[in-house]
Amino acid sequence: MLKFILKRLGSAAGVLLAASLLLYILVINSGDPLGDLRESNAENREYLMQQRTEYMNLEQPWYLRYLTWLTGVSKCFVGACDLGRNINGIEVTDLLANAASSTLRLVLLATVIAAILGIAIGVLTAVRQYSGLDYLVTFLTFLFFSLPVFWAAVLLKEYMAIGYNNWLENPQISLGTSILIGVVAGLVLQMLLAGSLKRRGITFLATAIFVPLLLQYSVWLNFYRFPQMGPAVIIVLTVLLALSATAMSVGLKEKRVLYPALITAVLVLGMYYATFWLLAEPNGWLLLGGAILAVVIPGLIGKLMGGRLSKAAMGVSVTVGLVGAGLTVLDHIFRAWPGFLDLKGRPIATIGSSTANLEGGFWDHFLDNATQLLLPTIVLAIISLASYSRYTRSSMLEVQQQDYIRTARSKGLSERTVIFRHAFRNALIPIATIAAFDFAGLIGGAVVTETVFGWKGMGDLFNTGLHAVDPAPVMAFFLVTGTAAVLFNLLADIVYAILDPRIRV
């Protein structure tokens, strides 16, 4: 394995070097770096051109310029990267650090969401091939896939930012709208839950009646400006979760699983009160610590009380613990929302990654970052989600035709085991490659998304550099994206080996 990796790395380095030379030559010949000055009527135009020529070494032959750059880059190996300066005299290393962190913030969440949702949808549609759900999802994914980013972003801004903010000034939902939403929700839900015609009918009716009522109730509560949950809702939800998770895994009769789950639910309530003041003004580490505890403590309870069912007990308890902790955090976010609205009257912004000079505490900044990230994340996720779900679907369908799946079924394994343990794992193999490339591509910056939402990430670095015929930022961009492509390619190979024992050597 090591030899394989080293060999791959070696060839990758060669490719990178050759590509960098090619790109460098292309960039410096892509236009006239003095173009803006030539059309200027400044009196000392000649002097300015001469200054820039000297500053950017324009008079040196291409190989000398490239070598200068390469020497700077090679210092990276001794920990003193010198990627040069851009046309404005700013260190490219600094520019790159800012651009990379901004792009990562932008694409990381979107990619993870797209991958998880996309794969889930793919599996679901493959299992229910040729059902109404399948057709609907197929239609939607093709629609999303063909959406031009720019247009989608403008629409999202129009409705989800401007429209929502306007609505939020005085949130009202008319009776007609509520009923319409209820009907649509009912249709979608019956499609998702499926079953016999009678069951579908009941699901539809229940949803179509319940959702409008809930919406009207929320309006009466003024929920959208003053959301509230409170400990009562948290405990009811966690207990319900404990009951249903137990029922789904081993059945309610198994006290060894039920009790730890219920104990966890009660603990959640206890922790809600215990951490109330702490969580009113927390920090990132505190939340992380809380999340770890929410896994470890229920896990221990499950292990100790579960006996021979300890695995199931642990799973159920941890789920209950995590969801309970999540609800507790959500409760605090709800509490912070009205104050946040006072600071930022129109919460969903159309541009930027944060509000400048926002006052307020941890939750206000948390909410600010979340609301700023919302739109670009949706745009990016919706578009790559489409391809994930399509690939997963076809890959799942292919795997399900295999002989070993039939064997597994005839062995009498439950359908869930067949799908998740036997089919799904194998279906994931091609997805691993796509995910790796997708992520490497996204690091390169979602140029259009960045531009439309006013983020200065990798895409902007590249674009600005190229327009100014300024090689240093463009090459820095290349360095990161090229390396990422190579590394993720390698990673995909390794993941392949983990997922598919046949190619493990």
């Binding site: 400044a42 401007i162 000034e169 005085n170 699901t203 009562a232 159309t350 006013g454 600005t464």
Partner: protein
């Protein structure tokens, strides 16, 4: 079955939860009202001149106004080096530095009495006496003195160099003060008065920069006292100044997102830098030690945003003022927002023109052919089709050195141009071409492509002039101005481009006089040269006006080229922001940002 049980349980549970929690409506009983629209459009102080309006006795109001003039990131506190100089950077730094003069919305020069006053005390040699206001201080409390003027002079002085004039000590965009004012500002470095003596008469003496950066900071960073610094500059002691110059060149240019130490960036203007988030925005805060009219709003936030996101950001109130590139699409979108925004439209000081190629052998060296071409160019139609949609007030420009919105335009036009090319005269042009036996003459119109507007202009010229017997060729080329490009090779008959007016009186000499660097078409006319010489060596506005008329008339008679129109400008602001005013100058919409404020 299991699913059914679970979904039932969920429904029951949810109902239970709602009942249990017994929630009560949040917030106050009255629903928050939608924000009131500020009536009266662009309310606020009424401007009576093209200069800054008189806001009366105002105090700085809390709050922030968010503005975007484009995507480029803030570069540096010192925006005067060739690397850092850009209109975007100046849009921010101009708020921080007071100057003795400023440009009004039509390019007229107004004195800034907050900083001080100046008067011409002698014509020969041209000597100006500047007096800095007694209470004028940097934001750190240091007095603004003659030493600061000496720094401004030093940075524009090529005689302070390390070896030769190619390697000036201070790496600045403007470089000529060392030669035009050999001795620099004279006066006690710690005093408030200084005089400058020009070697030759300079009609543009008013707009020379005599106040820029804080000398006490540069001196300190250079390891000198302010007095030592001034003495070294006056003695031309380059060695001693090296460290200070290095600081001026590079010390203020920091890592994006990190401002220099607060002690190093005092300001003389109404705003100072307060925070910078890389890739996002720079925030300026009102300078509480400002000695003049205080800034109207406490914070100004400059966002770096590409045009494509501006209109929606304005609509969503993420921004309060935007200065996009003017396009018909943007204007339509802005109009769609109705009374929620104010739109500022108008001319700018950049003007489009067709210039003939006078290089020997070119067909356009024939005056008759130039006349025929001028007759068939549909200037009015071009303005109607391409410019009026953006600026309803736009008109065909009939002069080169004076813009239609300037006060001396009508007077100068009357003296220089009789309106002979106002109407398209295809028949007249045809007749000339036939007389000259030049029917079918190929006219290559060159410009720097891609440029949609110019492509359209050429298309309109073609459809008109081809009728007269010319053969118009669209010679747009990305490398039109590049070395070895169309322009340099002279492979064109007519060049289509724009000059940006700078507010200088003499800048046209570089374009129209024989052998000057911007005289691309190699035009030469002894009378024009002489008129420029007279203009450039006189300090008398009457002489300037008279010579301008003379030059304009000669250039029309000789058909140096055909002026077309002033480029339109566009900006918009939220209806609740007062005192946002269009300006024709390159300062852009932020020119009076210190006066912007939010209506109550």
């Amino acid at each position: 079955m299991r699913f059914q049980r679970v979904s039932k349980a969920v429904v029951v549970g949810a109902a239970m939860a709602l009942a249990l929690s017994a929630c009560a409506p949040g917030g106050s009983e009255t629903s928050p009202s939608a924000s009131e629209s500020a009536g009266g459009g662009n309310a606020g102080a009424e401007a009576t001149t093209t200069g800054l309006a008189d806001l009366g006795d105002i105090a700085t109001k809390d709050g922030a106004i968010k503005v975007s003039i484009g995507a480029p990131e803030f570069i540096s506190y010192n925006g005067n080096t060739p690397q850092t100089y850009s209109t975007y950077n100046s849009g921010i730094t101009d708020r921080m530095f007071a100057s003795f003069v400023y440009f009004g919305t039509d390019g007229k020069i107004y004195p800034n009495e907050d900083l001080g006053s100046f008067e011409k005390i002698s014509d020969d040699p041209l000597t100006i006496k500047y007096t800095i206001a007694d209470n004028a201080k940097w934001s750190d409390g240091t007095d603004i003195t003659t030493a600061d003027a000496v720094l401004a002079w030093a940075t524009q002085n090529l005689n302070l160099n390390s070896g030769s004039k190619d390697k000036p000590l201070f790496n600045s965009v403007s470089t000529d003060l060392g030669d035009t004012v050999p001795k620099g500002p004279q006066g006690d470095p710690a005093g408030k008065e200084f005089t400058v003596e020009f070697k030759a008469p300079d009609p543009d003496w008013q707009i020379q920069t005599w106040m820029l950066h804080p000398a006490h900071v540069v001196a300190k960073k250079g390891g000198l006292s302010t007095e030592e610094f001034v003495a070294a500059v006056r003695d031309g002691d380059s060695k001693k100044l090296e460290k200070a110059a290095k600081f001026w060149n590079e010390g203020w240019t920091t890592k994006p997102g990190t401002l220099p130490d607060e002690a190093d960036i005092p300001v003389s203007g109404p705003y100072k830098l307060s925070s910078w988030k890389a890739g996002e925005s720079v925030t300026l805060t009102a300078n509480e030690n400002y000695y003049g009219t205080p800034a109207a709003t406490k914070e100004l936030n400059f966002r770096f945003l590409a045009d494509s996101g501006m209109v929606q950001a304005l609509q969503n109130k993420d921004l309060d003022v935007i200065g996009p590139q003017p396009t018909v699409d943007t204007l339509e979108q802005l109009k769609g927002l109705g009374s929620a925004v104010n739109i500022q439209q108008g001319d700018t000081l950049t003007w489009e023109h067709l210039d003939f190629n006078f290089v020997k052998g070119n067909t356009m060296t024939n005056l008759e052919l130039r006349k025929a071409f001028a007759m068939c160019v549909p200037r009015q139609e071009i303005v109607d089709n391409l410019i009026k949609p953006l600026n309803p007030e736009a008109q065909v420009m009939n002069l080169r050195e004076v813009f239609p919105f300037q006060e001396n335009y009508a007077d100068t036009v009357a003296a220089a141009y009789d309106g002979r090319y106002d109407q398209v005269d295809i028949e007249g042009a045809k007749k000339i071409l036939e007389e000259q036996d030049a029917v079918g003459t190929k006219v290559r119109i060159g410009y720097s492509a891609p440029n949609e507007r110019r492509t359209n202009e050429v298309a309109q010229i073609k459809s008109s002039c081809d009728k007269a017997g010319f053969e118009i060729v669209d010679a747009g080329d990305p490398k039109f101005f590049a070395p070895g490009g169309t322009q340099e090779r002279g492979d064109y008959e007519v060049a289509l481009f724009a000059w940006a007016g700078s507010g200088q009186i003499t800048s046209g000499q570089n374009i129209y006089a024989t052998g000057k660097p911007q005289n691309y078409g190699k035009y030469s006319n002894a009378e024009v040269d002489a008129a420029w010489e007279t203009l450039a060596t006189s300090l008398d506005p009457a002489v300037h006006a008279e010579q301008t008329k003379k030059i304009e008339k000669l250039l029309w008679d000789d058909l140096f080229g055909i002026p077309m129109f002033a480029h339109p400008g566009l900006s918009a602001s939220g209806a609740d922001i007062q005192n946002v005013r269009h300006t024709a100058t390159q300062n852009g919409i932020v020119w009076n940002a210190e006066q912007w404020m939010r209506a109550e």
